[in-house]
Structures are given as structure tokens and as C-alpha cells.
Amino acid sequence: MTQPNRVTGGLINRDAALGFSFNGKSMTGHPGDTLASALLANGQKLVGRSFKYHRPRGIFTAGSEEPNALVQLRRGGHCEPNSRATVVELFEGLAAESQNHRPSLEFDLMAVNDLLSPFLSAGFYYKTFMWPKRFWERVYEPVIRASAGLGKLSMLADPDQYDKGFLHCDLLVIGAGPAGLSAALAAGRAGVRVIIADEDFLPGGRLNLESQSIDGVAGSEWAAACAAELDSLDNVRCMRRMTVFGAYDHGIFGAVERKTDHLAESAGKPRQILWRIYAQRSLVCTGATERAIAFGGNDRPNVMLAGAARGFLNRFGVAAGRRIAVFTNNDSGWRTAADFAKAGLDVAAIIDTRETPRVSGPGDVTNLLGRRVVATSGRKSIRSITLSDGLRLSVDCLAVSGGWSPNLQLTCHKRNRPRWEERVAAFVPGSDPDRGMRVAGAVDGQFTLAGCLRAGQEAGIGAAVEFGRAAPALELPRVEAEGCGITPFWHVAESRGRCWLDLQNDVTVKDVELSHREGFKSVEHLKRYTTLGMATDQGKTANVPALAIMASLTGTSIEKTGTTIYRPPYTPVSIGTLAGRSRGREFRPTRLTPSHEWAHARGAVFVEAGNWLRAQWFPIEGETHWRQSVDREVIATRRSVGICDVTTLGKIDIQGRDANLFLNRVYANGFATLAVGRVRYGLMLREDGIAYDDGTTARLGDNHYVMTTTTANAVLVFRQLEFARQCLWPELDVHLISVTDGWAQFAVAGPNSRALLSKLVTEDISNHAFPFMACGDVTLCGKVPGRLFRISFSGELAYEVAVPSRYGNSMMATLMQAGEEFDAVPYGTEALGVMRIEKGHAAGNELNGHTTALNLGLGRMVSQKKDCIGNVLSRREEMNSPDALRLMGFRPVDRGEELSAGAHFFAKGEARNMQNDQGWLSSAAWSPILGHSIGLGFIRDGANRIGGEVIAADPLRGREVTAEIVSPHFLDPEGERLRG
């Protein structure tokens, strides 16, 4: 297919053709094109429908500020909505679709919204859809969502890879336009470590879009030569396709580098890289963005910014129109007329709002001074314009310039406020934007090429000197003189049609006026009420005109009206890039227990517990339901012996002369009297008196202890202990190290546990030599050093045996082998849970951050005779009321019924509401030993209510059970088994 609007010139490779499609229509372009330039070359002026009114829209800019030309790129999981056609690099086979229309771009039924626009003004959804209330979620919201919107997600996982990386430099130059290139060259030649980043694939910035020359060569050529030199310097990294999107504390910047977005396939390479850049100094050379003027019908396709119109012509050899008019309030607009005339294209007129601009255009072009465009016509493309004096001109493109706004976002990310500069009628960065940050070029209000080159070079030399380098001898490039005069002009008041400000969000001047009338006068309110400046373009072309109009409505200056706060990112960053490789299974690390391989081979079912994968149960042949496996494991353990990997419990090695004193202060119960070779249960409180964590601590030597914590709190307890050691009691001689991963630990529980272990342990572990709560170093299998603890979570005669982790997998196998004669079983976390509920031990469900030692029935453990964390505030009145919640056991009165965790307790016959709530059931299980359901829970004044009956109501599951309050120790309350 031909490219009707392709003319001569431009920085594209005409020798190669690239085939692409738009809404299924085949087109061709060239390497060096963007999707936008290729669409224009092919005569495609209508590219999308607007967000709210579904107005036909065309390409408005030639850069990342584009509000209109948002397209859906690629297919399937690679599909990327809301891509700005103006920054999408063309590649062979690119498939783009327009967005937000039903059924098609050309014929959009939803354009009916446009006729309804009087009802869809600013804040319409706050007003119109408030009644009836229940309609919001069911009717209004889904309808609005379906009719307003941008692109659509594929709902498929993104198959591409994204990476993250870190970069360090002396000087980060952001933007490779004339100022940035000059600065990087000056600093780079002086030997400074420079990174220069630009969002474009071609360094040069406006130099590639303008027809100006430097030192007698085209600006683009000068830029290419600069970039080539920067590429050749070892101390300079010139990064293309890289957007620095945010400035953060201490000279840290966030940037996205698009590695394969411009290719048809990523071919295994990361698609984008999220860089974190640490820069000693930064130089913001981000240039400026042109802004529009608000006049009637200024949103028609092929009304575009003047700088974009000549940009497409100069850089891509594309004529946006064959008969163009320019509407401007400043000198730069005249360049569009000049460039079009030079290319032999028809320029209908230059319309300048100023009576006496000090600029001259091409000789044969009509200058209409002191006049304004009041209206336009044309549906899918502009056809004519009408001026304030009634003159009507037929045109196929209108180039508009309302002046330029510096791209100062990065200078404001740390809350510095910009300053209004009357000379250029624009906000410029406030003084001292941030420590180590400088600005140069158009971003600083330097709107001439000569000014940009000089400012950049000076900044580069300045940086070189700051880093102790000799200032390089450089000459300033020679350029033609140019003007940058402007007389602010924002809005053609005599226009009767809608005057658009924010094209992306369909915000008009009328909306701003309404916002003002209804009291939303501050710019932040204006933004939220009208949605001005939201979404993908963040109002880059719209914000300043809108707040200028608000300023005139409120009668204050633009400076006082101010801008909304700029926040990162400068341009949209995809979630995939921010996630990097931390997705799916790699979202966080998976920790495997030492016996994982053994358990896996045995067919264990695993459960995630924090980062750990733990065996939940071990099904054997013939078992079809998890309860069969768990019941069997519990019964086998209680009758003979079972083995469970308990490595995941936190283990902290504590040593030092004051270790004993330290433990006595971090545990609520006494530890001063713990003898060497003995273990004690310990309860930790938070300083506010709430129960925090529990576990056992073994005294291995005079100054040597090993503490266990719950799996969930292992990291937090360690952090807290370090805090206590370093900040609260710095005088103590005590040292901590986490040994959770160093030791594999197994519970061996059941009446035959001693018999089993005696086969493997060299030492005497008879009840006399190694009684309940004994601990010590042992030798296993005649040679492996280990530790043995006689502790019990199951309530049975039980031990925990620890060996260095590397022996863990074979230890499990060895224990099972030794247990064959006892029919030993491995058991998982479910059986562990059943047995601890039968025994009435608290676990995570009970230690939930709201319960006290008193609630847990451990009130008497809290010593008031020593200094320890939490004991003072545990005395608070409210936490010691006589009818406080108590941890009790529960069983269904009808033994056939099942209790469920989460149920709340009510007296019989009372309404199920908050006032009557007496507590809750925290854990429940089927006890295969007792043959019925059992539970643990907290209930008011529970200790005095044994034998009483309550309703355990579980409205979520629609279940109510009458339960009897019993002792939490369902099994062996005297503890005879574990001492046996």
C-alpha cells in the first residue's frame, strides 16, 4: 500500500519497508518510524475514541505526552493496552488496535454519550448516580465501567520477562536533547562517570524534530555525532529507550529501559529493565512540552500541536496535512509554517493571537494577527476553521501552539514547588530543586537552541569541576538567532462550541467553570472533581491552560493558583516491570525442610507455612480423604510412635556471661533457676502485656542456651531480641545467632519413642538418666553429633532430636528405619495440630496478638518479681477483669456434631449480635482418640463455667452447635504420659 502523506526528508530508512496493521488494515512504514508517524503517512487520521464522550480523536503530539492516540498492541498474553502510538517504534508485523469503541472505530454506538454530554459534566457520577443507593454497585458502576474506559486487559499472564538492575554514576543526565548532549559531552570528555538517558530511541530530542542547524550541519546530524562520541567514551553510558520516571531521596532515580519493545519477539531477553540509579549529581535536561489553546472544536482529528506537526515533517518525512493552518500565541508556531512552506506544502494562514508579534514567517503565507480560531468543522478529520472575524478557511490540519511548559516533573518529585516565569509564560523549576540536582535547557525556561546548548555545556563543565576534573576547553556551537516571544493566551472566550482542555479525560473549559462555581477551586480539587490531568498523560498538554483559566476565574495569579503535586512516574510504568522476576512461584523464596526430599518421595501433601513448605499429611495406599491419613497418623503416634519434621521452628543460639539474665528479662516466666541440661517452656510478652510468642529454651552449658520460637515469629522474635540486647541492655554480655537453618530437628513422639531412639543414641536416655525436660548433646548412629531434648507438644512421651541440617534427610530415613519394628509413622502438620488441640496447647490461632497470658490460662507464669518485657503493662486493670476471656476446651453436646473454628459463643436464646458475644472458638479438630469433634476457644469467665453450655454460632458456614465448656486438656490432664 502507498503512503499518501509521506514526503521527502526525515530520519527514516526508506530502503526498507515494514509491514504493520491497524485495526486489521495492512499498512507499511519504514525503520525509524513511530506507529504514529506511520499511521499519519498512511493517511490514518482517526486513531481512537475519547474516554467519556467517545469523540473521534486523532494524533495530537509527537511524543510521550500524547493524550489521544492510545492503542492496544500485540496479541494474546503479550497484549499491551494504552500504548501511546507516538512512542511505539514500528517493527515488522506490529499489530495495533484502537480502543474504547463499540462496535468499531469508524462507527461507535457509544458516541451517543456525546449527545448526553450536558448530563455528564464534571462530577456527574457524584451527583447523578447517588440514588437509589443500592443501584451504584449493581447498575451504574458496571454500565459506566463498560462504556467509559481505555484499553482492555488480555486477562492472560504476561509471558514476557522483566528484570531489575542497579546503576551508579557521578552524573546522571536526564534527556539527550541539545542541553543534555552538550552537558554529557563536556562532563564525559573531562572524565566524569556519566549516564545519559533518553526515552527516545534516537538521541537528540527536539533537534530531530526541528529544521535548525548547528555549526552548519542539520541539528539531527550534530546530535548523532554527539551520541556517537558519547558511545565511544568508556566513562559514559548513553542509554536509549530509557525513561527516568522518578526522583527519590539521596540521589536515587527510578528508570525503565525498554529492551525489546521495539522488536517483534523478545527472544528470551527481558522486555524491560527497571533500573535503580544512584547518582552523585543529576542534571535534568528534560526539555519542554508544548501546550494547546482552548477553542471550539479543538479536539477534532488532525488538530495537533504545532511542534508535533513540524516534527512529523522533519523527523519522519510525513505531512500531517496538505493544507495546514497555524494557530499560535508565540514565535515557535511560526516555525511550523516555515517548515511546511519550505517542504512545498500549502500553508493556508498563520493565525497569531498577538497584534504585533516580532517574528516573520515565510513571505507568501497569509498572516492573520490579533485573531483567533473560534470553531472547526469535520467529523473524522478537521475540514475547516472559522476565525474570530468570521473568516472561514478550509484546511486538513490545524497546528496549534499555546506555548511551552518545561518538563519539570522530576524536579518536583521531592515536593519542591515550581516558580512562574512571566518571560516564557510557564512554570520553571524552583530554586535548588534538590541536593545535587541541577537543571539546564528548556526545562529551565531556556527556549532558544543557543540558550540550551550554552546552559548544557556550562552545566557539564560545572559538574566536571565539582568532581575535581580539569574543565575541558570547549567552544560553543554556532546556531542561527531565533525568537521565543510569547503573550499568554489560553482560551477563545467567544467560542460557542465545547473548548477542550484535557483531551484524554474529556475535560472542557465549561467543566473548569462548573468546578469553580461548585467550590472546587484549588488545583488539587479541580483535578479530582473534573479528572483533569489524570490517566496516562497526566495532563502534560492540558494542565497549565486549565489552571490559568481557574486563576482567571478566581482572580488570582497563575503562580498563586499553582500546580498539582507531581509524583512519580513521569510516564506510565507497567506493573510487570515493577514486579520484575518476583512473580508466581518466585514472588518470595520457598524454604524446604531438611527432610523434604524424603517426604516428597513418600508422597506427602505439602502446605505453605510462611515461606516454608511443610508436609501436611502422608497418605498411604487406599486413603481417599485427608482425614483418613490424619486420623491414622494420630492414632499410630499415640499408640506407638510418630515422627515429624519440626525444623521450621525458629532456633536462636544464645551465648554469653549474661545469657541467663538476658533470658530472664525477655521471657515472662522465670529462667534464673534453669539448670544446665534442662529445658523450660517460655512465654514471651510484648511490652504492652499481650502474649507474643512461646517456645522452649534449653540450657546446654553455663553460658550457652538454644531458644525455639514459633515458625511464624522466628524473624520477629530474633529482631526483638537484638533490640533488647543492643538498645535496652547494652551492658549485658550476650550474643545471638539464628541457627534455624543450621539444625534439622525431628519430633519423635509416642510410647515407643524412647525405645526407638535408644537404638540410635549412644548415651543412656532412660527415664532416670534423661527425664522429662532434659536436654543434652548426644551421638547418633555412633558418629553423628546431635542434640536431644525431651519435650512434648503432643502430650506423649516424646523427644526432639536435632542434627546438623546436612544430615536431615537421611536422619528422617534412619528414624523411620529404626522405627519399623514399632510401626512408626511420619506425621504432618495436621496430625501435629490435632494432637496439640487434644492436649490444649496454644498455637498461632490462640497467640493472635490480642490475647494475654491470663486469657491463655498462663497468667500465673508472668512473674512480677523481676524485670521482664511486658510484665508491668500486663497488670493493667482492663486486662485483668474478673470475667476476662479464658482459653477453654469445647465439645459438642451432641457428639455427632462438628465444631468449626471461627464460631462465636452466645448464651442460649440470646440474639446473635456483638453485645451478646461471649468469645470465639479459635481451633477445632476431630479427635480420633475421643471419637468426636473438639475445640479450643476463648470465652468470658471460662474457668468458672466448666460444664456450662453455649451456642457456637458460625453464620458464615450457616452452622450452630450447642457446645459444652470443658478443660482445654482433653487428654491426660495430669501429664503422666509425657513423664513416663
Binding site: I252, K414, E687, D688, F723, L728, W729, V872
Partner: protein, 95 residues
């Protein structure tokens, strides 16, 4: 943010966990006649200054040092970094 660790040099803030005001070092005396009130104030009442703030950071992804970082809460400028153990001793802990 970058925290200049007294032992390890400049480290990215992502390696640290934040706790809060340095006054958390001043844990009251449990034997004090007004111990309950003092512990209440210690635990719940803290200043929230706009400007210079001494605060506790923990180098969890590093050497496990607790640090006292003097930071301007408005600009995030870090003015001073000390080992919390030394700061605690200087504040009279351990006497």
C-alpha cells in the same frame, strides 16, 4: 534512601527495617512507683516532628546492627548515623 552505616558504609534503605523514635531506648525502671504510667507513656506517647528526628533502624538484611539515624523527616536528609548500642550507653542505659 541511603543510610551510611558506621561499620559498613553507605547501604540502601531497603536493607533495613524501621522501628521508630529513639526514645524507645529509654525503657522505664520497672520498680518505679509510677511504673505503669511511665511504661504507658514510653510505649504510646511519641513526638512526630517535622524536621530532625532521631530514630531506630535495624540492618536486618545486613549485620543486624540497630542504628540510631538522625533524619530530617521533611527532606529525608540523613545527618548522622550511630550504632544504637553506643547511643544507648551514652543515654545512660546499662548503669
Amino acid at each position: 534512601m541511603i543510610i551510611n552505616h558506621p561499620l559498613l558504609g553507605p547501604r540502601d534503605a531497603a536493607e533495613f527495617t524501621y522501628l521508630g523514635d529513639v526514645s524507645l531506648i529509654n525503657r522505664p525502671d520497672w520498680k518505679d512507683a509510677e511504673a505503669e504510667r511511665k511504661f504507658h507513656d514510653y510505649l504510646y506517647l511519641r513526638d512526630n516532628p517535622a524536621g530532625e528526628h532521631r530514630e531506630l533502624w535495624y540492618h536486618e538484611q545486613g549485620d543486624r546492627s540497630w542504628l540510631v539515624v538522625t533524619r530530617d523527616t521533611v527532606t529525608h536528609e540523613v545527618k548522622r548515623v550511630e550504632l544504637a548500642r553506643e547511643a544507648a550507653l551514652a543515654m545512660g542505659r546499662g548503669k
